[in-house]
Symmetry: C3
Subunit: 138 residues, 3 copies
């Protein structure tokens, strides 16, 4: 097999898996601390916030991967790596904030959306360029 | 970096991200309308249906992406684009129906499954062909 | 379109979609058996365990795909196929155990983590090697 051309994108993808695994582990530790055994997902407010914070990260993860690789494959690998690292940092800020209070999730959430929108728009630019190049020979 | 060969598949993938983001936003607006603040996921029946509708779209999204790219990469990019657009339309019908009543989710859900089964079967056909070609030189 | 080089990885990915679809169907049948109609996700303990078992599989699915393809594209396709099949078997053991009792989910869960860690570490090895080769010409 030919070694693919984007090891940095793959490294960021693997790192984001590790990060999401770490957040899942935080939910598990919150279960223990608040004596909320599986399969329950309701319990003390702090546990419920921790669980929802993780769920939101899970919901956005495939969207993040699509935007990361669209940006990296069609626009710029360096921009995708930077956007991917920013997204992970934003997710950590979001998670830590949400564990404290529902309101404190917002700064990290807006930063998450900004990183995702950046990856999306750069990816879109590259894809439109590639479509014009391939089908209209511009 | 070499610009990859499938900008239309990437465009459909990005569009499906935008669509899922729009559905997530509908859940957020339903929260406001029904005064159901995060992290709660229980509340008035319409909010719970809206939340579950989005959750179901989230659960299927990675499966959709795998089937979309299997079909597009191993069978036909045009068929994958058509199936992908049909899937998104089906998801919208499903979501709108589910918001109204649990029963009204079914037509959109069956259309969703049909679009997904189409992408899956075409992708499978292409993959089996590629395996036979690569390993048994048929 | 050039037929891509990794039909076995694509076949394992499609198979894992089919498997996850089968587990979703088991949740649907558990709904019927326990008279728990959508959008409810609470009900008799066995239904709640079945629902959570599926949710956990859903949460891990994108991580599984990233690790599978990292291992397959950067390390070895055969190792990725083996790890992917082991992961699916582990998920089935996990699901069957969790349906019976929360405690019985653990052996399958640890096997799931072992398969995932294997794919992750082999993928990481291959990616680090590819980065060193590409940027430092080792």
């Amino acid at each position: 097999m030919v070694v693919p051309d984007s090891p940095l994108l793959a490294a960021v993808s693997l790192l984001s898996c590790l990060h999401l695994g770490y957040l899942a582990r935080r939910v598990g530790r919150s279960r223990t601390a608040h004596k909320t055994l599986p399969p329950a997902v309701t319990g003390p407010p702090e546990f419920e916030r921790t669980h929802r914070a993780h769920q939101n990260c899970v919901e956005f993860f495939p969207l993040f991967l699509v935007c990361l690789w669209s940006c990296g494959a069609f626009f710029s690998e360096a921009a995708a790596v930077a956007g991917g690292l920013l997204y992970m940092a934003a997710r950590q800020i979001y998670f830590n904030g949400y564990v404290k209070s529902a309101k404190k999730r917002l700064p990290g959430f807006y930063l998450t959306l900004a990183a995702l929108a950046g990856l999306f728009l750069l990816g879109l630019t590259g894809i439109v360029h590639a479509i014009l190049h391939k089908y209209i020979h511009l």
